[in-house]
């Protein structure tokens, strides 16, 4: 729906919607069975083919060269159907943005420019953290001409699928973090089984322990936080776009159900209590689209002063999304709680998306620190 604000985004929205209609519709429950069912490799391959795994990566590095608006349009349209592919696209975009922020184009080119399959194009990242807020990052040491990493990384998203990962680490007890590229096939990497989480089951994560794993520094030492802060505004908005899409999907399904379902001798949409639930959802879905669109436009035009606004917009969109998906279940009554319908998955996924880029309270405190300078 973002394209209703800006027609330039329309082709990407159409592309993502037709992708969703073909690859995702009717199969979301099956896809969501992972890790107790099969992983949807076929969907991932197709997502790679159409270029979703590198939307914001410049063309010369193997990407589609789109802007944040394009990324958000695609994410919202995908998540309207199923947020798991959205989570994969998001994580890959996050990695790419970090590499670009660190001006590590050589590394980006090596990973993405040479890839010839979805597997090769993926890169893992602990997407549910803000590295600066993490007390227990892995430790890095110089080793020969490079570095080596040791320590735990929890919930490394795509860690079980990708060959490479970007890992934040610190030197000894210092607070300054740096980013490193590691090869997940290195003998010092031990991975858990896929971690069973609340939502987005088909965007899986693993826990990883690193033991003197060879690593390449990304950008400069000690600049991890700076790079991350640079990519945060756009990635906050991208995460918000995911939840905007989830809300849209919840509203679609709730409206359709409320028109069809009879109780008390009428379609339940004709009970004003149900209408009020639906109205609340519609207000939230529209407000979310507007937040995301405005933020995208400001970012694309390089307007100043938007970094904390983006963080604020994302916090707000996530919050109203979590409310809307709860009501989305409620409108369907008992059926809303069942996997035969989409609402229970959205109820779980919205929370999972909210947790991207670090815990909510930490992000709120961060926001006020930045806004106030205190």
């Amino acid at each position: 729906m973002l394209s209703s604000f800006k027609s330039e985004w329309k082709p990407f929205e159409d592309l993502a919607r037709s992708f969703a209609a073909k690859e995702l519709a009717g199969k979301t429950e099956e896809h969501d069975r992972y890790p107790f069912g099969e992983f949807f490799h076929d969907v991932l391959d197709k997502a790679y083919e159409v270029g979703f795994l590198g939307i914001m990566l410049p063309g010369e590095l193997g990407g589609a060269g789109g802007g944040i608006g394009t990324l958000c349009t695609v994410l919202a349209a995908l998540c309207r159907a199923d947020s798991s592919p959205g989570g994969i696209v998001f994580t890959n975009a996050l990695v790419q943005k970090i590499l670009l922020a660190a001006d590590a184009r050589d590394i980006a080119g090596e990973i993405f420019g040479r890839a010839s399959s979805a597997g090769g194009f993926l890169a893992a990242f602990p997407s549910y953290t803000h590295p600066a807020h993490q007390d227990n990052l892995p430790e890095y040491k110089r080793s020969g001409r490079g570095y080596s990493l040791t320590g735990p990384v929890d919930l490394l998203v795509l860690g079980g699928l990708a060959r490479r990962a970007i890992i934040p680490a610190r030197a000894g007890s210092g607070r300054q973090g740096s980013f490193f590229l590691i090869d997940l096939d290195h003998k010092g990497v031990s991975k858990s089984e896929p971690v069973f989480t609340l939502g987005m089951h088909a965007c899986p994560a693993v826990d990883v322990r690193l033991d003197r794993v060879r690593a390449r520094l990304i950008g400069e030492e000690g600049k991890g936080e700076e790079y991350f802060d640079r990519v945060l505004p756009a990635m906050h908005v991208a995460a918000a776009a995911m939840n905007a899409g989830i809300m849209r999907g919840a509203l679609d399904e709730a409206l359709a159900y409320a028109r069809e379902r009879f109780q008390g001798g009428r379609e339940i949409i004709r009970w004003s209590e149900v209408s009020m639930l639906l109205a609340g959802m519609a207000v939230k879905a529209d407000a979310a689209d507007m937040c995301v669109t405005l933020a995208c436009q400001a970012l694309e035009q390089g307007e100043a002063g938007w970094s904390s606004r983006c963080a604020a917009a994302a916090l707000h969109v996530h919050e109203i999304a979590c409310e809307a998906v709860t009501d989305g279940v409620q409108v369907l009554g008992g059926n809303g709680y069942m996997k035969d319908y989409g609402q229970e998955k959205r109820f779980r996924d919205a929370r999972q998306v909210q947790a991207l880029l670090g815990s909510v309270p930490a992000r709120k405190l961060d926001l006020i620190r930045k806004v106030s300078g205190v």
Binding site: E29, R33, F36, P126, Y128, T129, H133, D135, D154, L155, V195, F196, T197, L198, G199, F262, Q263, G264, G265, R266, R270, W271, S272, E273, V274, L277, C322, T326, V329, Q330, G333, G334, G336, Y337, M338, K339, D340, E344, F347, R348, R351, Q352, Q354, A355, G358, S359, V360, P361, A362, L365
Partner: protein, 503 residues
């Protein structure tokens, strides 16, 4: 100073004093023994949590994802061995006769560890309430007697309750709605009984119960006036199970589809019918039907509140543990002011929810389904007399028609409508409050715990999945809010109409 007539006059204005502060008049009337009993019940629940629920909750949840066909037969056997299926059955029926309000405390305890396991224990009492509220003492004695024997022999005998149909969920909770609705479960009167055709959905524990309290309608066009309650035994010809649902949470507790195809139920398994009700009351059948519903849900919804409070507490305890062991910027979370405030808020929610079920239970204890059991002389009499006395002396009386007639008169003819409204209204109020607070706490815990909160092995995400159901079953919270309006507010406003909104 005011005269006592003036005081009464003032207190009868809205909100009526007797409906707004139930614990004040009723707490002093509570038999002291109930406190001792409740303490024991909580201690038993905590032991069960340590020995059974806590070690298994997450592993079982995982197992149900690996194997969606999972049935909790092992859990049922354990709960049976622990005596949970007779614990709150009155001693006149051979049960252990713990006081009904103590079950809420039990539900909070076990619910704080696993709502699914609590449901495996608790739903049975929805069935028990359905049996007891019918006033049919003969059938109650027979069925509850089987539950008691099931415990002694180690063959669990559970009771499920089936009202919900594919086309009628909210509608069957309320007589005003059911006549406009699309019920389809038909009971045809035949010689010696009824023949039932229809389907029930979402029936908790259906697959693993021995008996089902089934509601069907003699005339599908006038369901509120032709409701029949039937006891159907699993295995009866014409009664089969469809699938069971693939749910978001509470996955250890199946929700079953029940299918009836020309299923014959003999007269001696008819819990109530229009003809039977006519033997003890002349009240309009619709009124009796609503009162029956109110008795059942009036007693069980405070329990659902307690489930919600349990989840609220589980979320609080999990968050507290996390905050006490995790650092942020080098400082334990628990020593950040915002965390302390959030934990206090969660603790407050637990306490408020507990107050809600306590008040609702006071209503039931003194003005509702089990008020006779809570009168001091009756309470002590039931506690102190030897079981043989109930089996030999009271038991045979329960089988007599006069016993059902007396119970029927007590429960339906002589009960005051304002008591019915108070109990039903408070039950809904508590249900909405406890379950909403439960959801709130689970959400707060997830936010507080950041990425750890997302992991199934951290426990709290399961609580969020589990708790959501409580806003839906036993009437959606939307329906329950309307019931609060109907019972506690509308009677004061002559022009108020409920469930009759213009389109």
């Amino acid at each position: 100073m005011l005269s006592s007539a003036e005081v009464s006059n003032r207190l009868s204005g809205f909100p009526r004093f007797e409906d707004m502060s139930l614990s004040l008049p009723y707490a002093p009337r509570m038999p002291k023994g109930m406190v001792r009993e409740t303490r024991e019940v909580v201690a038993i629940a905590r032991t069960f949590n340590d020995e059974v629920a806590r070690p298994r909750a997450l592993e079982l949840d995982r197992k149900t994802h690996e194997d969606p066909g999972y049935m909790p037969r092992d859990l049922v056997e354990l709960a049976n061995r622990w005596g949970f299926y007779t614990m709150w059955i009155p001693r006149i029926f051979g049960g252990r006769g713990y006081n009904m309000p103590s079950m809420s405390y039990f539900a909070e305890e076990v619910g704080s560890v696993c709502l699914g396991i609590m449901n495996v224990i608790g739903v049975h009492y929805l069935g028990v309430a359905g049996v007891v509220a019918s006033a049919n003492t003969r059938l109650a004695k027979r069925i509850l007697g089987e539950v008691v024997r099931g415990e002694k022999t180690g063959n669990p005998c559970l009771i499920a309750l089936a009202t919900t149909e594919p086309g009628a969920g909210t509608d069957v909770e309320e007589v005003e709605l059911v006549d406009k609705g699309r019920v389809a479960c038909h009971a045809r009167r035949v010689r010696g009984g009824y023949v039932v055709n229809g389907t029930k959905v979402f029936i908790s524990m259906g697959h693993v119960s021995t008996w089902t309290v089934l509601y069907a309608y003699e005339d599908l066009k006038r369901p509120s006036e032709t409701t029949v309650g039937l006891m159907v035994k699993t295995g009866t010809q014409g009664f089969s199970f469809g699938s069971h649902e693939n749910k978001m949470g509470q996955r250890v507790c199946p929700a079953s589809v029940l299918v009836f195809e020309d299923c014959f139920i003999p007269d001696d398994q008819v819990l109530f019918s229009t003809d039977m009700v006519r033997k003890f009351t002349k009240k309009p059948i619709r009124e009796v039907a609503q009162r029956y519903i109110d008795y059942v849900v009036g007693a069980t919804r405070p329990g659902v509140c307690a489930f919600g409070v349990g989840a609220a507490r589980g979320a609080f305890e999990t968050a507290l543990k996390h905050a006490s062991t995790t650092t942020m910027n080098g400082t334990l979370l628990i020593n950040h002011e915002w965390v302390q405030s959030m934990l206090a808020e969660m603790y407050k929610n637990v306490a408020l929810g507990r107050l809600a079920y306590t008040e609702a239970n006071y209503a039931n204890s003194h003005r509702g389904l089990y008020k006779i059991l809570q009168l001091k002389p009756v309470y002590y009499y039931l506690r102190l007399m030897p079981q043989a006395y109930f089996d030999k002396v009271i038991g045979p009386m329960l089988e007599k028609d006069y016993s059902t007639r007396l119970m029927g008169k007590l429960s339906y003819d002589w009960a005051r409508p304002e008591d019915q409204r108070c109990c039903s209204g408070w039950a809904s109020l508590a249900k909405v409050a406890g379950t909403d607070l439960g959801v709130r706490n689970c959400q707060m815990a997830i936010e507080l715990m950041g990425q750890t909160g997302l992991r199934q092995d951290a426990g709290v995400e399961k609580m969020l999945r589990d708790i959501k159901l409580l806003q839906i079953y036993e009437g959606t919270n939307q329906l329950n809010r309307l019931n609060v309006f109907k019972c506690l507010i509308a009677p004061e406003i002559p022009q108020a109409r409920v469930f009759e909104e213009d389109r």
